[in-house]
């Protein structure tokens, strides 16, 4: 049985200008521990789809099942990481942020602090447990956000362009770190990005989406051994393949 089933999901936005289709007829299946990238230009509905899976948006039609259970609103079976650094709570230390989900579950302080500490260690921030977010760099804040989303042990991790606002060098380091974290935790990950190289580096499978309305255009399996070498010929071939799919639909007119 697949871990995540997305069945013919559509979402229509009601705007003053009329009804605008955000996502149209998307169907997907994901197996356990799969790393899936949603790739596409802005406005293609990839973030909308992620927000539907997260339960922040309710689809106009269609259904989503996770582990066989229909998704209805947000739930702690999914962890979410956003692009915005401001997602961390400034009034909590790194440890306090990571422990938040566990605190909501009612886990005793000592236990949740220990779990949170281990999560911070996983993202290599064990030296910064007591720091407040405003004392951390953007990359560090995003790592805290990843640790926070993993701490209460959801089976699915949803990531909405988490590294898009970082500089190129930090982004590369973060992608390597995320690949390590994924290898260790074996979460099922849906990762939204508009960066082709990022998708090829991280994903088992890339879903290319097209805008107006947001639809699945193509599906590309990235069957390269890990850790991947972004300078290898195979890597560049995958990028070319994805760019070709994007190019057909994303011509600037």
């Amino acid at each position: 049985m697949s871990h995540i089933e997305i069945r013919d999901v559509s979402l229509v936005y009601d705007t003053p200008a009329g009804q605008v289709p955000g996502v149209q007829g998307v169907s997907l299946d994901m197996r356990e521990s799969e790393f899936l990238c949603l790739l596409g230009p802005s406005g293609c509905g990839k973030s909308t789809l992620l927000n539907i899976v997260a339960g922040f948006l309710t689809p106009t039609s269609g259904e989503i099942r996770i582990g066989g259970k229909a998704v209805n609103g947000h739930g702690t079976d999914r962890g979410v990481v956003f692009q915005d650094f401001a997602q961390l709570f400034p009034w909590r230390t790194a440890l306090g942020n990571v422990a938040f989900g566990l605190e909501m579950k009612g886990i005793p302080k000592e236990e949740r602090d220990e779990i949170a500490f281990n999560q911070l260690k996983l993202v290599k921030l064990e030296k910064f447990v007591k720091s407040y977010p405003h004392h951390l760099s953007g990359g560090m804040q995003q790592r805290v956000a990843i640790a926070r989303a993993l701490a209460y042990n959801p089976s699915v991790l949803l990531m909405d362009e988490p590294f898009a606002a970082l500089d190129a060098m930090t982004r590369d380091a973060m992608q390597r770190l995320l690949a390590d974290v994924w290898r260790e935790t074996r979460k099922t990950i849906i990762y939204v990005t508009h960066n082709v190289a990022e998708a090829v580096y991280l994903a088992d499978r890339v879903i290319v989406m097209t805008p107006h309305p947001g639809k699945v255009k193509a599906e590309v399996v990235i069957d390269l051994p890990r850790p991947r070498d972004p300078l290898s010929v195979e890597f560049l071939d995958c990028q070319k393949q994805l760019l070709a799919h994007l190019g057909e639909t994303h011509q600037v007119s």
Partner: protein, 279 residues
């Protein structure tokens, strides 16, 4: 990065980085710079008093004010007045703070509460607090009760307004993150909305306290309370005791400064400044 202490600039003082690292000497210079305008003011005052631009009785020298201040303090009269005023202030302001924060949060979170309270608050808030005083005195009699009630009523408005604004300004992404991590509504309130709105709430409390002072000193002049700084100042007028009046004003200033430095600044440094939500 970790030891980066946020720059805390005390009201009226130059930013610390200008003197940090230059030792004791530099610290004295800051004190001197802060004291300078007050020394100038004192000198002008003294000149005006000594030239007897006004009759000496109505415009005493600083020495006379100081001696009245010491005399009234040692006799216990001034502390008694100040204590009664502080009790009323604390009681009235505590009611305003609690009620104001609760109403403000409800208005910020629930459409229905906003629809009901916002028009009322908008109309009532700009009315000067003392305008209500005669009504309160007629309804609730003389003495402490109407004074405390009026202080509570009037100083609640800035607290309500700022709390409401603060709740509205809580970032949606915090709420989403918290919900994704399983926070239900009560927990969301306590762990996200309240700390998220705190910078605004503190501002509201500050403004509310200033409002409380204004209306309290005023209403003490009207409410025929036996003790209280407002009453002391007002009563001294009968006997042209300007030195007593000025002593009362000095005490009000000192209490205000102490509340700012010892309560609000401490509270801010411990919370929103430490969190980087305010510098």
């Amino acid at each position: 990065m970790r030891d980066g202490v946020p720059a805390i600039s005390a009201a009226g003082l130059p930013a610390p980085e200008r003197w940090i690292g230059r030792g004791e000497n530099a610290r004295w210079r800051v004190i001197a710079r802060t004291a300078f305008p007050f020394l100038v003011l004192a000198a002008i005052w003294e000149i005006v008093a000594r030239l007897e631009v006004f009759p000496r009785r109505l415009f005493p020298t600083l020495e006379e004010v100081a001696s009245a201040f010491v005399r009234l303090t040692l006799s216990g009269i001034l502390p008694h007045h100040a204590f009664d005023t502080l009790v009323r202030l604390t009681a009235g302001f505590a009611i305003a703070a609690i009620a104001g924060v609760i109403i403000g949060i409800l208005m910020g979170r629930f459409r229905r509460a906003e629809d009901i309270f916002l028009p009322l608050v908008s109309i009532a808030a700009p009315i000067p607090g003392l305008a209500y005083a005669p009504l309160f005195l007629l309804w609730f009699g003389l003495g402490n009760f109407p004074a405390i009630l009026l202080v509570a009523f009037v100083s609640a408005f800035p607290v309500i307004f700022n709390t409401w604004t603060g709740v509205k300004a809580v970032k949606e992404i915090w709420v989403r993150s918290a919900q994704a991590m399983g926070a239900d509504n009560p927990k969301l309130f306590r762990h996200v909305i309240l700390p998220g709105a705190l910078p605004y709430i503190l501002t509201g409390l500050r403004l509310g306290l200033a409002q409380a002072w204004r209306v309290l000193v005023g209403v003490e002049m009207l409410a025929a309370v036996p003790w209280g700084l407002g009453w002391m100042i007002f009563g001294a007028r009968e006997f042209l005791n300007t030195d007593v009046m000025l002593s009362g004003i000095v005490v009000i200033a000192m209490i205000g400064l102490a509340l700012e430095k010892l309560v609000f600044e401490k509270l801010e440094n411990y919370t929103v400044v430490r969190w980087g939500m305010m510098s």
